[in-house]
């Protein structure tokens, strides 16, 4: 895990136990707030030469993937890496803000043919290999190159739903013997003007004073998303396969379910998901609520009907879209491994923790996580 809170599992334990304070940058993108990426010693996972081929989003993901493989005890020269099935949830990479702004300014200054201007400027000003740092599937591509993960490589797209599907699909493949071991993850760069633009166009980015996500639903200035930067990768493994190689087992994913549909049927879908995932039996809920006003309010209303303790990850670590459900699962597993309930919640019965993912635009799902047998 990599985020504004630091690098690696130790740096995220306080967050997993509900004891971390958010790190906010209110200056760089003022009036918008972001959770900035912490200092990262990139060279510990990615050679200088490979770092130059990536922008922050790919670099963060490739770094986090390396941490996960290392944490799973699968060394760089372990042939197991060539048997790992990788699923990455990704969007696209960073645009060159300087080139874009130069084109917009030239047009504002009275150039008369926008399309020809774009052709001319992009042809001469774009760094030739930037495209590769922008292509969705090249995060996975870089992980193959840097970390030698080559069993299979698939990239899912589609905001929070992509992260959810990445976990669900990998779990399903493992459960049915289509795969023994999987690397699943995502990364996000919240510190980029194009990210702010996308989030403003699709939802709303919070301005001014920072508030926890469930207090950001009124549509006012301070409501909305607070983008974060970071990445989370999980190594998922069939139990016997993990035991056979003496792997450390953080937790067990018992099930993952998802759905998507029209806004007006949200309540119906949530009730069905709750039924299907047997939320009744869950001890507590970890919410990945985004802060996007309408969907966050709807999620909170649903959570309040469950009569269960719940806490949200995003208030502490920021909105990281494709990463949401993966980071929340990682934090949950971390707390369980420490023998604690996630976010230090007081629970009144045993049962799995349900990671609830309600995307900021669409997609809903539940990932059920249990402590490892001791």
């Amino acid at each position: 895990m990599v985020s504004s809170l630091g690098v690696g599992t130790d740096a995220h334990m306080p967050a997993a136990l509900g004891k971390a304070e958010p790190v906010i940058d209110a200056e760089t993108f003022a009036p918008f707030l972001v959770h900035p990426l912490s200092e990262v010693e990139w060279a510990t996972q990615i050679s200088k030469r490979d770092q130059r081929q990536m922008e922050q989003w790919q670099r963060t993901g490739t770094f986090a993937a390396g941490l996960a493989l290392e944490d799973a005890g699968i060394s760089t020269d372990d042939p197991l890496r060539s048997a790992i099935d990788m699923t990455v949830a990704a969007a696209g990479g960073e645009r060159d803000v300087e080139v874009d702004e130069h084109i917009l300014q030239t047009m504002a200054d009275g150039a008369n043919d926008a399309q020809t201007l774009v052709n001319e400027k992009l042809s001469t000003d774009l760094r030739p290999t930037l495209f590769l740092a922008q292509l969705s599937n090249l995060l996975a591509g870089n992980i193959s190159i840097v970390h030698k993960v080559t069993g299979s490589s698939r990239t899912f797209m589609g905001e929070e739903g992509a992260g959810l599907s990445a976990i669900q699909n990998s779990v399903a493949r493992i459960k049915t013997g289509q795969s023994d071991i999987a690397l699943v993850g995502a990364s996000y760069n919240g510190q980029h003007w194009d990210t702010i633009l996308t989030n403003e166009a699709l939802a709303k980015v919070a301005r001014g004073t920072f508030k926890p996500v469930f207090d950001r639903t009124d549509g006012g200035d301070e409501s909305g998303l607070v983008p974060g930067s970071g990445g989370a990768f999980l190594v998922l493994e069939e139990m016997e396969h993990a035991k056979a190689r003496d792997a450390k087992i953080y937790a067990i994913i018992t099930d993952a379910v998802s759905d998507q549909g029209l806004d007006e049927r949200f309540d119906k879908r949530m009730t069905a998901l709750a039924d299907y995932a047997n939320l009744e039996g869950a001890a507590c809920i970890i919410s990945t609520a985004s802060g996007a006003p309408a969907r966050t309010a709807a999620e909170k209303a649903f959570l309040d009907t469950l009569n269960k303790p719940y806490r949200e990850t995003t208030s502490t670590i920021g909105f990281m879209r494709e990463v949401q459900s993966i980071m929340a699962s990682a934090l949950t597993a971390l707390a369980m491994d420490a023998g604690q309930t996630p976010f230090g919640m007081e629970v009144d019965h045993d049962g799995p923790t349900a990671v609830l993912c309600v995307g900021h635009l669409s997609a809903e799902g539940v990932i059920l996580i249990e402590g490892a047998p001791r």
């Binding site: 081929q53 599937n137 591509g141 797209m157 589609g158 699909n169």
Partner: protein, 427 residues
């Protein structure tokens, strides 16, 4: 019961519907007639100005409604057309498909038309200088629908879901030029797992824009033989110099054979096997020994339970780049050995160009048609064979042939390799 299980004890997967859009036309009949007549869909670009561009041709789809709109409108529109054709053929209930949806679609970005519009709006209200702050100040609450659609990666799949009534959270995926094949593979795995009785797998791409052309040009991936667009794509020829970007969509309705038979659906073919392997060598180049592509081909054949000798025809990835065609030849030689000379292999891209995200799906449809129509589509523009590539590429003219099994290859940037085996319905 057991007769509906494959050699690995999994449900056999039937293809009960297919559909296709390419620069040759809409629908399989028009496409197949032209493809087997050696017609090229590559032409000079008229959709946008091409001044300053090194490549000025493409296989754009200009004849469908909305084709002159945004990448979203094309990508969605092509997918809708191909999927509608496939669903009507399959005879599933209109508007309530009721199975899973897996879509291979290109990555999205807010396009220049919307960037200029947002910038202008932002400057008008905040009198900022041009740039991101101006666009952002205009975006909230005022973002044009086109900008919103272009900004959301799940947009195409969500709207296809609403259109066709697929069940559950759709998967949108990207494995670069292998995406279409990966969509079919991902759907096939769902059927093997018993998660669903039927799945709609689509590969679609309407992303030919000036910026996309420039990006591929900067990587020196595109042909610059602009003088005669129809002959620019010449896979396996000595004077090939890059691929030609193109658009289109391909769709399959996949069902377990058991479910298809139970509802009395016509079985059009079998998805017999899939194989994939990632390459860790380089972002755009393949490992010199071809081992990842070789592994993908072998895994697909093993998955289908067949030997190389049982492949009647290979539908090549055949992009017409110097590197790909050489690597594909070498990899196939390694798997097929001496038999390769006797196995015909052709590249649809010689006529329809490289449809990128859609390619694996479109070419899977053409692979199935080769079986159903007993015809091998040619590799056109094959006047000057590469002496280093000794293949029967079905040069220039279609060929009648009895085809029971086809291997369809897809290899992409980022080390993506995916292969499918498509077969006739078992007797």
């Amino acid at each position: 019961m057991t007769k509906h299980l494959d050699h690995r004890g999994r449900p056999i997967i039937a293809i009960t519907g297919f559909g296709v859009v390419s620069s040759l036309g809409e629908g399989w009949q028009d496409n197949w007639r032209k493809l087997t007549s050696g017609v090229s869909g590559i032409h000079r670009i008229t959709r946008f100005p091409t001044e300053h561009l090194r490549t000025t041709m493409a296989g754009t789809v200009d004849f469908l409604a909305g084709a002159n709109g945004s990448s979203y409108e094309r990508t969605f529109g092509f997918a809708k057309s191909a999927a509608s054709e496939a669903l009507v053929m399959a005879g599933t209930p209109e508007g309530s498909f009721g199975g899973a949806l897996v879509v291979a679609a290109p990555p999205v970005e807010i396009e220049w038309a919307e960037r200029f519009e947002l910038d202008k709006l932002g400057r008008a209200s905040d009198s900022d200088s041009a740039g991101y702050r101006a666009m952002v100040s205009a975006a909230h609450g005022n973002a044009p629908l086109a900008a919103k659609r272009a900004a959301r990666f799940g947009e195409v799949a969500a709207n296809l879901q609403a259109e066709f009534g697929s069940r559950g959270l759709p998967i949108t995926l990207s494995t670069a030029c292998a995406s279409g094949a990966t969509a079919i593979q991902t759907a096939a795995e769902m059927l093997h797992r018993g998660e669903t009785d039927r799945a709609l797998a689509i590969g679609t791409d309407g992303s030919v824009t000036a910026e996309a052309l420039i990006r591929f040009s900067l990587l020196s991936a595109l042909s610059t033989q602009n003088d005669d667009p129809k002959t620019a794509s010449k896979p396996f020829s000595k004077d090939r110099d890059g691929f030609v970007m193109a658009e289109g969509a391909g769709a399959f309705v996949l069902e377990t054979l058991e479910a298809a038979k139970a509802r009395g659906a016509k079985v059009l073919g079998i998805l017999a096997g899939c194989g994939e392997c990632a390459d860790d060598f380089h972002r755009t180049r393949s490992k010199p020994d071809g081992s990842p592509a070789i592994a993908a081909v072998r895994r697909a054949l093993d998955d289908a339970g067949i030997t190389p000798g049982e492949v009647d025809y290979i539908n090549a990835h055949g992009t017409s780049t110097p590197e790909n065609d050489k690597m594909e030849y070498m990899s196939l030689t390694s798997v097929f050995g001496e038999r390769l000379g006797g196995t015909p292999i052709s590249s649809n891209k010689s006529m329809i160009g490289h449809t990128l995200t859609a390619a694996g799906a479109i070419e899977a449809v053409f692979s199935l048609l080769a079986i159903r129509e007993s015809t091998l589509p040619p590799t056109v523009n094959h006047q000057n064979p590469d002496p280093a590539i000794d293949l029967d590429v079905v040069p220039n003219e279609k060929r009648d042939a009895t085809v029971s099994r086809v291997l369809s290859n897809s290899f992409g940037f980022g080390g993506q390799n995916a292969c499918l085996v498509i077969a006739a319905e078992p007797e």
